[in-house]
Each structure stands twice: as C-alpha cells, then as structure tokens.
Subunit: 425 residues, 2 copies
Amino acid sequence: MGVEMRYTARMKIKADLVVKNASQVFTSAGSPESPVVVEGGSVAVAGGLVAWVGKTERLADDVEVGPEAMVIDAAGGVVTPGFVDPHTHAVFAGSRPLEFEWRLSGRSYLDILADGGGILATVNAVRQADEDQLVRESLPRLDRMLEFGVTTCEVKSGYGLDVENELKLLRVARKLASLTPMRILPTFLGAHTFPPEFRDDHDKYVKLVIEEMLPAVVEEGLALACDVYVEKGVFDVDQAEQILRAATDSGLGIHVHAGQFVDLGGPEMAAGMGASSVDHLDVVSDEGLAAMARSGTVAVMLPGAAVSLGQKPPRVDRFLEAGVTLALATDLNPGTSYTENLPLMAFLSVTSMGLPCSAALLAITRHAAKAVGLKEPEGTLAPGARADLLIHDVSDWREILYHFGVTHVSKVLIKGKPVAGPRAS
Amino acid sequence: MGVEMRYTARMKIKADLVVKNASQVFTSAGSPESPVVVEGGSVAVAGGLVAWVGKTERLADDVEVGPEAMVIDAAGGVVTPGFVDPHTHAVFAGSRPLEFEWRLSGRSYLDILADGGGILATVNAVRQADEDQLVRESLPRLDRMLEFGVTTCEVKSGYGLDVENELKLLRVARKLASLTPMRILPTFLGAHTFPPEFRDDHDKYVKLVIEEMLPAVVEEGLALACDVYVEKGVFDVDQAEQILRAATDSGLGIHVHAGQFVDLGGPEMAAGMGASSVDHLDVVSDEGLAAMARSGTVAVMLPGAAVSLGQKPPRVDRFLEAGVTLALATDLNPGTSYTENLPLMAFLSVTSMGLPCSAALLAITRHAAKAVGLKEPEGTLAPGARADLLIHDVSDWREILYHFGVTHVSKVLIKGKPVAGPRAS
C-alpha cells in the first residue's frame, strides 16, 4: 500500500506511452537499502518522462491512455531503468590481443611496454586514425552496450595526449552521440598518462593540460567533466588537484581514477573537491572512504579490470560500512577490461565483491547516474525521470544477475521511445 | 611451409562451399601445445566435411570452386571450429533466483533446501512440466548458445529422478535436437542426486537406476552416455561404479561429476573404467590426475559454477603438469551456473585458472569434442572433420578471449551450411 501511494497520482495522468503487464517493475527508487519493486506493474510515460508507475490493475483508474498512445505489452517480463555505464574508454582505435596473452603468461608491464604494448600502443593507434576511422571502430561498441541495456554511457578521452588528438577523441564522442540513441556523456581525460614527448618533464605536460587542452575542450563545449589518473608513476595528488581545480573553475564536473594499484590519497583529495566519483579503488584507506561518504562522492568499481588482470575484485564490505554509494562500470578499454557487458559487472559484484543483489542493480542505474553527475530522479523509474527503460525477458529481477553472461533485454526505450536496437523485436 | 603442407592436397579438391579471406583460421588441429593457425586463410568444404584449409592465396590452385558452390567472404574475420559445450543441464523448467540471493547473503545450503530451494526445487518443477513446456523453456537456451558459437552441446537429464521423468527429459532433448541445427548429445544422469522418495534407501534408488531407468533409456535409444554425481552425501564411488558398469555394458559412454567439493576418488574410478570425461575437479588428488592422464580421460572444468558460488576457480597448473587434457563447459543449470556463454568460460580460464590462450580455445573445441566422446578430427578444422565452423568479427583469435562477455560470432556454419541464427547476418 505504501508502495502504491508513492506512485499514484490523484488525477488521471495523460500518457503517450504505456508499458504494461510487467511481472515486476524494479524502479531503483525509494530507499537504497530496499528499492521499490512493483509486482505486477506498469509504467506510463508522458513527454519523454516517467509519469506514473504502479500496479497494472490500477492503470485504468490512474492513467488516461488515449487512442494515439503507444501500448507495449511487457508480457510478464521485468522492467528496469535503462542501465548507466559511468566509466568507459569506448572511443579508441586498434586492439591489443597479444599483450593480453603476454601479460597472462607472466611478462612484466615494462617488458610489454618495451615491445610496443600498453596504453601507448593505443595512443599511437589513435593518433594515426582519423575521425571517421574512430567512429567506425567505436560505434559497434556502443551498439553492443545497447544490447546489454546501456542507455547512458560516459566516454573518456585520454588516448590522444596532445591538444589535437584529445580534441579529436571528444569530437568523435560528439559524432557518436548523433549516431546512437544512447545518451553519451563525454569526459576529458588528457591526464590519462604522460605521453612519450613529456617523459622527462611531467610538470610541463600538466601545464599543457591546464593551459591548452582544457581551455580548448571547454571552448568547443566537448566535455561535461574532467578526469585524472592518480597512480604511482603517473599523476600525483598535487598535479591532479591543479588540473581538477582548473576544470571546476571552467564549470566541468570531476572524476578521479584512484587506487587501482597504490593508494596515494586520491579519494580524500577528490572528495574534498566535490568530485562526483572516484573510480577503481581496489585499494583505499578508511580515511578515503570516510571522506567520500561525507561528500557524497560515488565509488565506481571496475571488476572487469581486476578479473582481466587475473586479480580478485575487492570486497565492498568496508565501502558499505562507511556509507559510500557504490556504482559499477565496465571500464571498457582495449588494455585491461575489454567488455561492453555491464550486467556481467553486476554479476561479478554480487558473486565476488559482496554487493547485495538489489545494490548491484542500483549500482548500474541510480547510483551510476549519480556517479556521472546526473540529478535525481535520473537512473530510476520515479515520476519525472527521463523515460529510459528496459524490458527484460525474465520473470524476476534477480535473474538479470543470476542468469549471467548473456543479455535479457528484449526492448529498450529511450526518452519514452522504443529503440530499434540490434536485438529489438 | 610446414603448416601449408599439412593442409594442401596434391589434386584439386572440388568444394561445394568456401569460406575465404579470413585474417586467421584457428584450426585447433596440429600439436595441442601449438595448434595450427593459418594467417590469411580460407576453408573449403565438400559434402559437409572440411576438405581443405590453407592460405587464401593458394585457394585457386588447390580448390575447384564451381559456379554452383557457395562462397562466403570472411572479410578479415577469424574462422574457428564450432564451439563444443561438453557439460550442460540445459533442459529444465523454472528458475531459482531467490536461492541465488539467499546463498550470496550467507544462508546455508541446508537452510535453503528447507525453504524449497536447491536441486529438488528444479526436480519438482520438471516433474510438473509437460514435454511441450520443457521444450518451450529450453529452446531459447539453445538459441543463446548458438549465438555464442556453440554448434555441439551435451545435455544431461537428472531433474526427473524417476523412470517417467528421466525419460521425459531425454525425449525433450531429442525433440530439441529436431528444432535446432546444433548437434545435441544426450546423457542419462538419473544418478544426479537421491530423490526425496528414496531419502532413506539409497541403495534401492541405485537399483532403480540400474534395473529400470537405464534399460528404458537404452531401449528407446535416448542417450549416448551415462553420468553420475560422485560427492559426499550423494553417490559414493561404489554406487557410481555399479551404475557406470551397467552403462558401459549397455554400450553407453561414461562421464563422472567428481571433486566439486570433496575428493572421494571418483577420478581414479572413472579413469579406470575408461570414462571420456571427469567434470568439476575443483579438488582432485595427484593420483586422480595421473590416472586420468594415463587413460586419456578429459578433465572438464566448470569455472562458471565456481564463480557463481563466490569461489575462485581452481588453477590448472597441476593438470597441465600431469598431462591431463583440459576442456571447459558452461555447466548451464538453474542452480549454480546459469549461463550459455561458453567463450566467457574460456576468458575465466585464462584470467583465473592459468590456462594459456590457445589451450582455452582448444578446451572449447577439440578437447571438448574429445570429452563428449567424439573422435578426431571432430572439434578441429582438419580435413575430414564435420564442417561446423564460426566466423568471428575480430582480426586476431585472441580477441575471442580478451574482448570478453560478448559474442563475436557473425556467422555459423553447421555441416557446411550457414545457419540462420538470431544474429546471423
């Protein structure tokens, strides 16, 4: 009864689209500990936004479905918000399959670098590729994401590492946004690593990022946020802070890669600056977690990277105890986590990291939306949220996790409109 | 040069189908340590069998492609043998998503059993389902397997646990075989667990399996092999041996589930009886491995089950040192490994278990074919093998593993004929 009250308006809502007869609507709304699941539910959409969620048996009473409205029968499937992948490097050229084999056979990272592997291999490929090639190689990745239910996707630059090529990557992201129904949220990651040209003068590269790249990115309106990779041997906390300060001064949101291998205090710095997310966090101190909990900074966990590197993903018990909001991402990239399968990350999080099942679905919807700086009720099916939603061909929402490695998505709606995806029926 | 000689006939071969212009043909043939990969290769098929594999530049010299022959352009993709999933429980009714959540939240198996969970929940669902329902629920699983490139699939009974329902499951498997282009290899697993009716008289159930179920299965020609689940609290080695002896006396092949939790000596017994595979083997003694190496019994590893149960899959170093042939399977079942994604098992095997990349592809082709009792050259693209082959939309065979969680299969051929699968283009 309490559940229905939240989703029932007093006067009839005029809908232009209805998804009805779901076995369950997993709304991702309500309390994070126990999100609202409407058994035998339906969703009404008006003007591209969620207008009503409730029991199918109440639909006729609450919602006016005119003759011009589209009615989609979920036929006993489960409806969820569209998935949000809050951390990807989806725009790149080439791939590094040999390096994958080398690494697993025990060759050291330095040895692989010397053989032309590692991130700089992708930087070289990106610098040599034109925008058309990058679009051609990247679009199938977005199509695959959509097959797995991703309707909003963050995309980072970071394989250009000079003004021209960082701008090129972000222009490609903009072009891709015009070619896919997905919402693409571009992030400037000029500070992904130091390019070979600045091997001996890191501060000069930081200066280039702040004084040339960032202003050019902002000038062209190419990014919503800025990210820095804080790690031993890459950007230190001071350098990151300078870059992120310039980004916030320019009105961008901020994210930080931190704690993939070594904890340098990146989470405390990022939380202090109001970052919307800190990502990776395979190692993080209690102080870092406490700071993130205080600032509402989301921890974006990347189990695909840990598994690809032959490591066990970190347990999340300490994160939950500290009250940190958790999201999950694919980290889609050609080096350490080459996958578009976001629900698989949710499976790994419940089986290997200790995330409860409902928290895992929040981590790829509502909490992922928060991680990329979207405001509530985005990432949920509460009234007022953008009507990005999925119909899954399962009868219980847990099957999205438990029946793993595959997609259950039979229909995708974005802004309240059915998407003709590769698997759309 | 050596490679080409193996695959080049002296006289022109008359082909009725050619797959040409692959970036690589990963044949799975040749030495298991270093299987033959033909760079810039093509495959010719005659009469449903592989007739020739070689460099595309030699195609015109070696193969006569008549005007009636079908020519498929692999367009720089990778060609591999069709994948073989050597261990599935793909025919069942219902699903157990609540149990998945309970188990991960720490509830004990006995507690879950008491709440109606566990294998007996599926036994109840299967007993209540008719053949049509079982076909309707199981066929989409086979379709998904095919999307991931599985062209041969072993399917076990074992959720009936009485004469009528074990026969029902195997009849459903036969019906499914008529509805899919995949090759279905049915296995009788009446000895999956003890049904509630025989809780207090296990020996009487073993007698039922041997004296009633098995003869009925053989009489109707419903299975190619027999399997027993050897585990503490389930079938002991003596009971398993009695059942398997009866099976071999009836002309069936044999498999054994052993060492999922406790090593009871199942591998030694199975190897001694000439089993084609022993499956699970999360725990196994050196003696068990030595016996399997001597008898040529294949170890079928099931990383999906370990991961779903929150465990790390076992390392394979000892298996490789002992000279045991390794295969991988999904173990597709509604309790402990609900997935159709066989290439994902190969990814897990290289990242978590220590299998070299080429061995992982052998483990889902040639070695999986051996595990289910198929004779060489099945599971390879050597001349004479059934022309079950895949075109993958990647340019290096390692990408099938490294770019994980998704399918790269763009075309499936079975017996030399293109299959109109869900994703076939």
